[in-house]
């Protein structure tokens, strides 16, 4: 026990929680905390916008598996964190946000820079606190880290009144956290595991439907063993890219709105979905009533509220997927020794689809630069260890399709909330978490114009990320929908980004190296040049064809059975035996 200010107790608590880096901006209400931060061992990275701090914390957490931390002042500082915290909630990312609040006596008076950030974040934060007593700070911080990082991970906000930071307290960090209303269940019930194994051993068309939970649970190795034991097709959702190696013969790609024909069809035609840490999101299921109608469902997840939320589960297994899959391996081996179904016809069907409908694109005759080609070359040249962060839109889908992922925690994107502007700050956080790994942000020209200010932060703090702007002059995904569903009436999707701003000059102005490329024959040398620069952030303006579209596509609200491989072109189902 030692007497210190609430602010010092806050910083001592963060140190005790194991924080090594945080992203933030000071301001009036949080100012007392910034004095002890000045002399703390924690690295504080001064961002240029609080949204950048939040996404950076997310990127850091996604790459390291540790809790990401961001800090901001009251009012606008706090409300600028709302988008990244909502983003972290949708993608189950462990983030702790610290915000200053106006002094206790001023709360509720519409004081300068007052916003009820606890109330604002209540609908999506995993939990949040308003602390008005300095004695409560260490416990609130300890609980916040515990809640953020256990069970289904998520964002926790701790709002601290300025007077609580200024008053004196006796610092004592809790040695353990116990919450009556929160007891995450890590170990699966034995019966659920046995039921799941039995169901699998009696299925003839099983599919592993793998979600981001497998990455959160660090269960990739277990998944590989389980998948090989059964020898069934594996599909990885947008959040699960890298959870299972793309190069593995049992991998059939990403399911969903822009998934592969093989992955979408595998789910549709399956008689059993072995659902691991996925949540039957509408972007995966399409029209829910027509999704995988003949399939039974095993749903393994750590969040009980996901069971049966969108799709009935015949067998539910609650628990940490690392434990669940580890328990399922011997249980399945026993079940298979009694009854081993022949999955050969099923695999043959899926392999035929995979061969007939690979992801691809046609090279234009006019020599224009295609976005898919740029992204494919980025993946090939930078290699499978590289960490990629994407924004939201066409470039995100192409990145998920045309990069090859071999390892977990190498693919960061805003899957659930769909936050444009995620890529640059998330890549910054990722690079801080993995300084020895190449980090590429693949961004759209629309997204880039939302959060590129963090390149200044990167340039000044020795965070040499690389940014590939897939510049198609427009809000590409919205434009694609206008092409397909609004008779080509391009209302407000023309950004004119090839004219203004000049991205390489903008990059140079922010202390980065700016490059550009508009010819296919220059792509490789441009990427290699960017790869050779490691003492500064690099921005490459890839000026691509604006009419390229993302295919395959299941139009919103339609059935996965109606997947299109190109405009007005469905797969030739008659030639497939399904």
């Amino acid at each position: 026990m030692s007497g210190m200010s609430g602010a010092s107790a806050l910083v001592a608590s963060l140190e005790a929680a194991g924080v090594d880096v945080m992203f933030g901006i000071p301001g009036g209400a949080i100012l007392p905390a910034y004095d002890p931060i000045f002399s703390s061992s924690i690295r504080h990275i001064l961002v240029r916008h609080e949204q950048g701090a939040g996404h950076a914390a997310t990127g850091y957490a996604q790459v390291t598996g540790r809790v990401g931390v961001c800090i901001a002042t009251s009012g606008p500082g706090a409300t600028n964190l709302v988008t990244p915290l909502a983003d972290a909630a949708m993608d189950s990312v462990p983030v702790v946000a610290i915000t200053g609040q106006v002094p206790t006596a001023a709360i509720g008076t519409d004081a300068f820079q007052e916003a009820d950030i606890r109330g604002i974040t209540m609908p999506f934060a995993k939990h949040n606190y308003l602390v008005t007593d300095p004695d409560d700070i260490p416990r609130a911080i300890a609980e916040a880290f515990y809640i953020a990082s256990t069970g289904r991970p998520g964002p926790v906000l701790v709002d601290i009144a300025k007077d609580a930071l200024q008053k004196m307290t006796n610092f004592k960090y809790p040695t353990s956290v116990s919450l009556k209303g929160y007891q995450p269940k890590d170990l699966p019930d034995a019966q659920g595991v046995l039921d799941a194994a039995d169901l699998i051993a009696h299925s003839h068309k099983p599919v592993f439907y793998v979600g981001g939970g497998v990455i959160k649970a660090e269960a990739s190795r277990e998944l590989l063993e389980l998948a090989q034991l059964l020898g069934a097709p594996v599909v990885t959702t947008l959040m699960a890219r890298g959870a299972f190696p793309d190069s593995h013969p049992l991998h059939f790609g990403m399911p969903g709105m822009h998934g592969t024909v093989a992955a979408v069809t595998a789910l549709q035609k399956a008689d059993l979905l072995i659902t691991l840490g996925a949540r039957f999101d509408d972007r995966v299921t399409g029209k829910l009533s027509t999704f995988a109608v003949n399939a039974k469902v095993i749903h393994a997840d750590i969040d009980p509220a996901e069971i049966g939320k969108n799709r009935f589960a015949d067998v539910a297994v609650l628990g940490d997927l690392k434990h669940t899959i580890a328990a399922l391996i011997p249980a399945l081996a026993r079940a298979l020794s009694k009854n081993r179904p022949d999955l050969t016809p099923w695999l043959q069907q899926m392999n035929a689809l995979k061969a007939s409908y690979p992801l691809g694109y046609d090279l234009p005759k006019d020599g224009a630069l295609l976005p898919q080609y740029v992204i494919e070359r980025l993946g090939k040249i930078s290699g499978p260890q590289t960490i990629f962060a994407a924004g939201v839109g066409q470039h995100q889908m192409w990145a998920s399709q045309f990069l090859s992922f071999e390892h977990p925690r190498t693919w960061l994107n805003s899957g659930g909330l769909g936050t444009m502007g995620y890529a640059v700050p998330a890549a910054m956080g990722a690079k801080v978490g993995a300084p020895d790994t190449t980090v590429w942000a693949i961004d759209g020209d629309g997204c880039f114009q939302m959060t590129n200010q963090e390149l200044v932060t990167c340039a000044l703090n020795n965070i040499p990320i690389k940014v590939a702007i897939i510049n198609n002059d427009s809000l590409g995904m919205v434009r694609q929908w206008q092409t397909l569903f609004y008779e080509g009436r391009y209302s407000n999707t023309d950004l004119e980004s090839k004219r203004v701003p000049n991205f390489p000059m903008l990059a140079e102005a922010m202390g980065c190296v700016g490059l550009s490329c508009d010819r296919p024959e220059d792509v490789d040398t441009t990427i290699e040049k960017a790869m050779s620069i490691n003492n500064q952030p690099v921005v490459v303006d890839f000026r691509v064809h604006r009419d390229a579209m993302v295919w395959p596509m299941v139009a919103a609200g339609t059935s996965n059975d109606d997947i299109m491989i190109a405009r007005e072109t469905a797969p030739d189902w008659d030639s497939q035996e399904l």
Partner: protein, 95 residues
């Protein structure tokens, strides 16, 4: 649709009512009746929430309610029983 009463034990701390009410609002569930009162333990309060939900939707409400950190226990008082049957949902909804 039958009316169900959920007896929800919560931490007696500021903002808990807003958390519970907000959950019902954003998940588009209607509250028929709500009362909040003290328990013998000053650290907890009891909410009686009457909802017009059945089966799957009711299970979802209970599961979502139990995700709130300040919610300690949920008991469902089954309708149409001569003696109200109480089953503690807590072991099934631990997270």
């Amino acid at each position: 649709m039958a009316q169900h009463t959920l007896e929800v034990i919560v931490e007696n701390s500021p903002g808990v009512l807003a958390r519970v009410a907000g959950l019902f609002a954003r998940r588009a569930y209607n509250i028929e009746r709500l009362s909040v009162g003290p328990t013998s333990n000053p650290e907890t309060s009891k909410m009686d929430i009457v909802v017009n939900l059945d089966g799957h939707a009711l299970e979802q409400v209970i599961a979502q309610l139990d995700k709130l950190i300040n919610v300690i226990a949920i008991k469902e008082i089954l309708p149409d029983s001569p003696q109200p049957t109480i089953h503690d949902t807590q072991p099934d909804y631990q997270n």
